[in-house]
Symmetry: C2
Subunit: 507 residues, 2 copies
């Protein structure tokens, strides 16, 4: 496709629907990416019918910031999903978080609405749970799912269990009404999420309205769960059972699109919000393949994400792209597909991937690896420079909290926050994707690569205007004590007195 | 295919030719196995047209023993390719080795000859270089290649450079006549080996004679090399260039079979003699994906091998097998394809993989991990029990010799030879393919698995009759000073006085 054909095609594209599968899964969890049990036949087929992105990144090594970045096209440090309580700390949206997505941020569904889209989120929102942050106030038309992570509390006594919403109101709570058996790992939530997706797609097909479906499920996040029919079916234990069920569900959604005859009008993307959580391994944690460390870190295992684009009739089957990509690109790419321009009044970090997807172009762009308020590392081409390194503190590590189990690269996986801003640690990710062999500082290769990288970093830092940090303040009073709808269910709980405090982010 | 169809088909199979691609390449080096640069399109296509074996093993973590095992169908401890100079030491066939393959061993080509096959080896023999061990004395009809590894010497002064043979006579030496530029990595040897293969196949096609081609190339063994046209073409550096050239060559050989119309009569298998040598990483060493350690060790990275079976019209395209397989199985499987029985006068360790390949059956069999004279570990089902662990000695490790760079699993990657025969270290390779989380000794799972494994190990040890060790004695006088044919070339060198000594095997 030449540029003209592309623009022609763009003008026709107002009716392209989008599906985004977004969850926690590691690079090494898919058969197509080398998982040795090879138990993801549907995702592997999605890849063989679509395009595999091998150099695709989350916007952050943690969930909430990555999700905010996906929907805003902006780095967390810009959209406010970070903390300044301490230097280089990961932060997210637990139940006592006071902040969330600011009204001033423009979310993908808000923009798509202008082009006539109907937008649904199924699953975990994670952009703040107080009423002002509700997804239906930020562009979504429908919601089925939870505002926070399902990992606790579990008994609803001292603290409220996480609510599950349908649109504006809660319809129950995890562990009480939406059961997850933490002994057996049994829960039928993925099946519910699947049915929600199929129903939504069927409904829009009837109305001919283009849609944006954000399928943000969480069965692979500890406590990991799977339906009865999938329990014990994997070589990989409970985590593998959950992966199999997700894989099966995605296969069913894609087949549904095909059955309805709208697969060629629906752009679908699969990716992850962060690397696999190795701290939950082996029973509840996934795999980042040969990459270093996992979730919470700015090594490749924390942020390199599996990624598949699928759009039969448009994307050449079996394609492979080395385009450096980011979840933030889905924002800009979706707007492009809908014939919309990204907002011009703010910095957008996501780029339009269509030239890479449809024309095989490689767009030169860097990847920034942030941990909280600090740019820890940057990738330019095949080189990655670490300006700061840290896995976690000695104090945490000595308690058994380990984001890099079994991995130990001297001077690289550090347990004190190490500054390398004068002489960054440099890796060639083609030769050394596992970040084991820093290049020699006096080498010509180091000098040449750092000259190029320094310009990129300088430019980035000079133009950086951080947003107001949203993840600084915590308060037990803001928890989901009495979400809308609780009265009808008799599930309102009494909040304690407000006592806002700085949130504690240990790593 | 039912059992009857299988036996019917067996009786027709006398004319099935075999190709075996056998080289040093790690599990993680192929795109199909998740290498992040995805630069092996031909091997990936071979896999998508054939069957991927995900649980396939070399017979040893080192080259010579694995090669002897492939050709004899027997563990190195039976066929003599091990040492008793010290406990649990890796040994191979350097230029000063006195031993080699015993006349009493029956090699695959010897047996295939009886069924009318013509047999050729292209590349590295490695089963002893003294005249009595010559491949043409052990069943091969043709040879182009070298008796030992090409890694040195390089100057032909103090020690003779390794000779390259055509059939009975040498035709030159590495570094003198067959150049490998160790600065640039340039060498056209893979192209020569490719042409040898294509010519041999064409010739047999003319004569309608079934053939066995053993393509044992070595471009991915340090010093790694590639032809000019492949240099600099990989994201992975010189090693990746070599892999690309091998991938390209294998693609050309498979296409050649198709062009000649004999692909449906030719069973082709691709696998490796040991895990990637991480000690040569990153510039000259490959990847074992997420497996632990590499060549020289009995962790998965030392012995889990990439493996692809290809036989259009017989093997269902895109197949995946979890059959526990071994390079020794190629011996028995090839005999089965040729309508021959394996020898009944000796223990054969290889099994016939045809039921797994053609009928999707899973045959229950263990995998034994030996280091020299010691059974270090055993795999039964998804469980692997380590009876001994050792990466290498502290003395070597402190000199920078590291078979597990960047990996350190406490109590598992040990630098002293550790005995666990009373309470083996047990891993569940489905949940934990990286061998990071030993199962708890008092757990029910441990007890149940070890009960099953103990029976297998007891049986194995009770019936084990070790062969005479061939890799104990070294002598500079037996080096390739004056190989047959040296006179014609004026390349004979004077051997020193014989001074046989125990070979020194440091790990």
């Amino acid at each position: 496709v030449g540029p003209e054909a592309l623009s022609l095609w763009k003008s026709k594209s107002t009716f392209t629907s989008f599906g985004v599968f977004f969850l926690q899964m590691g690079w090494g969890d898919l058969g197509a990416f080398g998982e040795p049990s090879k138990e993801t036949p549907n995702l592997d087929q999605m890849a063989s019918e679509g395009m595999l992105f091998l150099d695709f990144y989350t916007a952050n090594p943690l969930c909430s910031p990555s999700r905010a970045a996906l929907l805003t096209g902006r780095l967390p440090v810009r959209n406010g999903f970070y903390t300044t309580n301490a230097h280089a700390r990961n932060a997210y949206t637990p139940q006592d978080i006071v902040g969330g997505i600011a009204d001033s941020e423009l979310l993908l569904p808000e923009l798509l609405k202008k082009a006539g889209y109907i937008n649904k989120i199924i699953g975990k929102w994670h952009l703040g749970h107080r009423l002002q942050f509700h997804p239906l106030k930020h562009g979504f038309d429908e919601w089925f799912g939870s505002p926070n992570c399902h990992f606790g509390p579990f008994d609803n006594r001292a603290l409220p269990n996480i609510p599950v919403y349908r649109d504006w109101e809660m319809i129950g709570r995890y562990y009480e009404d939406f059961k997850i058996d933490r002994k057996t790992g049994e829960a039928n939530l993925t099946q519910i999420y699947l049915q929600e997706a199929l129903d939504f797609i069927s409904k829009q097909q009837g109305s001919q309205q283009p849609f944006f479906l954000y399928w943000a499920i969480d069965a692979t996040h500890a406590p990991v769960y799977a339906s009865k029919q999938f329990l014990g079916t994997s070589q990989r234990g409970l985590y593998g059972d959950a992966v199999r069920e997700i894989d099966d569900s995605i296969g069913k959604i894609l087949k549904h699109l095909q059955k309805l005859g709208i697969s060629e009008k629906t752009f679908v993307f699969f990716t992850s919000d962060n690397g696999a959580a190795l701290i939950s391994a082996p029973k509840q944690g996934g795999s980042n393949g040969r990459f270093l460390c996992g979730k919470q870190t700015t090594f490749e295992g924390g942020m390199r994400a599996p990624a598949i684009a699928w759009w039969p009739g448009h994307i050449p089957a079996g394609g492979v792209s080395h385009q450096l990509g980011s979840v933030m690109d889905l924002f800009t790419t979706s707007l492009s597909l809908a014939g919309l321009q990204p907002p011009s009044d703010r910095q957008i970090d996501g780029i339009d991937l269509l030239p890479a997807i449809l024309q095989g172009k490689l767009i030169d762009r860097p990847i920034f690896y942030y941990r909280g308020n600090e740019m820890m590392a940057v990738r330019v081409g095949l080189y990655k420079a670490h300006y700061w390194t840290w896995s976690n503190s000695w104090e945490e590590y000595s308690k058994g909290i380990d984001f890099c189990p079994g991995q130990n690269v001297s001077g690289v996986t550090t347990h004190t926050l190490e500054e390398h801003t004068t002489l960054p640690l440099l890796f060639h990710l083609g030769m050394d994707p596992g970040e084991k062999y820093p290049l020699s500082f006096p080498s010509d290769e180091y000098q040449r690569a750092m000259e190029r990288i320094s310009v990129v970093v300088q430019q980035h830092k000079m133009t950086m205007v951080p947003g107001e940090p949203q993840l600084n303040v915590c308060d037990k009073a803001v928890m989901n004590w009495s979400p809308p709808g609780c009265e009808k269910l008799g599930k309102c709980l009494k909040p304690p007195k407000s006592d806002p405090k700085k949130c504690f982010w240990p790593h």
